[in-house]
Symmetry: C2
């Protein structure tokens, strides 16, 4: 499929220039509004196609879908029908939205089927059973290792042999728009005699991308790198909120806990594997050679432009980072093959974040920890204000899109405001 030329398409829906939600994209999400209970939709331009309306009108009648499949508060059951079904639904909607297709455009249900995106509230697209966070950017791991350990041995011995990962908290994954409270906790800076307690003083974002599985396995079974992408339904942007002071004190020897589990924010539209296909690219060469179960053929990297903005209360957003997903050392096929090689079972709706996506240049680092280099080089915002970490009232906004010739496929954004610690 690599580098195939995508057939040019136009749509009868008015799609603003530079919209992430083109006819090439058609991501799935769950939305509601004042009139409508939670339901499944597909984004195009400033509209949402209400899939439950299309289904009720018989547009999917050849697919034998359950009657209420698009009237649930998560996509899990739909995704669980398998790629044969989800691909057909997306292709059917793509066909219906094409310039030449009159079936929906001229149908009496059109007004009901096309909901204004501005009037919709986006909910979590899936119910996340388990959430895993990887650590797959060599630049990020090197930066952190340099700051906290030894610049000459920044990467730990296992790092190039396996995609390091750990389990995170599923309950606190929230969609874009939901504010978070600054976490409280214990910290002990090197200059303190004993730990102290209070609101985190080093609240940080982590720019990540997450994939969502659409197929389950049984305990004891493994997924090969060759089959891995069959298990992956799509991607969202992922902000892995981190309290660096809590994390630094708590994380030995069992890993991050309270420094991470207070919140993770995601973009609400799942961009499908099918939509990502034109943006496949090679990944960094792996040296030393990895063990056979991690070797894979073909390209499993994706060229996705990523940006992070900080917007102070009552201020304007300033861009603080431009990175790209293609820098990742470990790819999704390797991540999933590793995750299941021991027989760990996975479920539909499980989420797997990439780890902070840092690039090679200083403006491409995916966290404040790295951008402000442990607080030593404050980041200047457009207003002249400076930031070492995230302050109360700040919103952190992450955006991502792929572009190739005239074809654009984007994620929209994940935006979340930081409120003061809850009393």
């Amino acid at each position: 499929m690599k580098n195939q030329k995508v057939a040019s398409k136009t749509t009868w829906v008015q799609v603003p220039k530079n919209s992430d939600f083109t006819i090439y994209n058609l991501p799935f999400g769950i939305f509601k509004n004042k009139r409508l209970s939670p339901r499944a939709g597909i984004a195009i331009g400033d509209k949402i196609v209400d899939l439950s309306v299309l289904h009720a009108e018989g547009f999917f009648s050849d697919m034998h879908l359950p009657d209420d499949i698009f009237l649930k508060d998560s996509l899990n059951d739909f995704i669980g029908l398998g790629k044969n079904v989800t691909r057909k639904v997306r292709e059917k909607v793509q066909y219906l939205l094409e310039e030449e297709s009159a079936e929906l455009r001229d149908h009496q249900c059109r007004g009901k089927a096309m909901v204004n995106r501005q009037e919709a509230e986006m909910l979590m697209p899936v119910k996340v059973g388990d959430y895993t966070d990887f650590y797959s950017s060599m630049e990020h791991a090197t930066n952190v290792g340099t700051m906290f350990r030894d610049p000459d041995n920044a990467l730990l011995p296992n790092w190039k042999h396996l995609p390091v990962g750990y389990h995170g908290r599923a309950s606190s994954i929230i969609p874009s728009g939901v504010p978070i409270h600054r976490p409280k906790g214990q910290y002990k800076d090197p200059n303190m005699d004993k730990p102290e307690f209070g609101p985190s003083r080093r609240l940080d974002f982590e720019l990540e991308l997450a994939f969502i599985t659409g197929k389950s396995t049984k305990m004891g079974d493994s997924v090969s790198t060759k089959d891995a992408e069959d298990y992956i339904f799509g991607f969202v942007l992922f902000n892995d909120w981190s309290a660096r002071d809590l994390q630094a004190w708590e994380y030995v020897p069992l890993g991050p806990f309270l420094g991470k589990n207070f919140a993770s924010s995601i973009s609400p539209w799942i961009v499908t594997m099918e939509a990502m296909e034109p943006f496949r690219t090679s990944s960094p060469k792996q040296d030393p050679e990895v063990l056979p179960y991690l070797q894979c053929e073909g390209d499993h990297g994706f060229d996705i432009n990523l940006e992070v903005f900080i917007q102070p209360e009552n201020g304007k957003p300033s861009k603080v980072c431009s990175s790209n997903y293609k820098y990742m050392y470990w790819n999704i096929a390797q991540q999933l093959a590793h995750h299941t090689v021991n027989g760990c079972n996975i479920n539909v709706g499980d989420m797997y974040a990439s780890g902070t996506i840092s690039g090679p240049t200083e403006d491409s680092f995916g966290s404040m920890l790295e951008l402000a280099w442990k607080g030593t080089k404050p980041v200047k915002l457009d207003s002249g204000e400076e930031r070492k970490f995230i302050e109360d009232g700040d919103s952190v906004i992450m955006k991502g899109h792929c572009q190739k010739d005239e074809i654009r496929v984007g994620f929209g954004e994940v935006s979340s405001k930081v409120l003061p610690t809850k009393k």
Copy 2:
């Protein structure tokens, strides 16, 4: 409530001597059998009280329960009704089972309501949203620190200031009786030049107890040590299966992953907080003093005798460990207060394991790693066979019970057999 004298009770059900499931216990579980779909029950002696039958017959009519509350495949919805309800249901069943109560004993539904435990298959009692594993036994943390780091500084600096914990895998928690496959993975022993791949050569159990929350919180909210027990529904035995060779190679810097997430086994009956009340005991003195949010009044430890047996294929069980839950340095109120102090939200059905429960003596260590001291002191089974770790065909059986005067409250067992690596 401490050290209250529990009123002596007798029951018309025949309860074998030394049964864990006395009229003082009455744990909740989900069972099915050839004739019956999954449903909620209470264990007594060799019987299960089918709560759906009692409900249909109107025994709980004053409690306004949903009609299908006991006909679900998990207890989450029931537990979520709150302790006022779950306590009333348990007390009503206790009353109905008392020697003097004729209402159920002489009711025409008795045959249907009292199911033989031997004919039932026990399922997962709850759907686990998130699973957390603590590391709260000082003896265990000291043993591990001594073996792998520095005998003079076995405990890491944070250990006595906070209950160290991390997130584990919820999808692979299974009930007693379900066999597990030996996991495969990467390992690199100190004598190897590079990592190798294969079935784990150091498969281990960890003797733990887990509590289950029965009440949810919102993001940003915290639970105090004072309120913590209101959020806890009950306990199960927990075998935190561990592949020591995988774990040792992968765990820096983000904690255990494939070394743990292939399986965790639990006992299927949830022993309620109410049933545990008579066995409350003090915990080890904490020095240095903990931060105010971790301080608590009263006793939150429990005197629970714990045992581990290894049963080779076609052999008899040999006891390899006798420990006690009262040794835990960090108690459940502190664990839950710490977990939520940063605003991490919790849900009904979430599970929180204690960490390996090791006591002060060599026969009270809660893992093979410690019992056989890193393979240097093989454990002798009754048959004369030796074990450094767990072998294919072995079953690991954990049991737990409390005893005070004539009152016994027990957990039954969690038993699981190890099968060879799945091809």
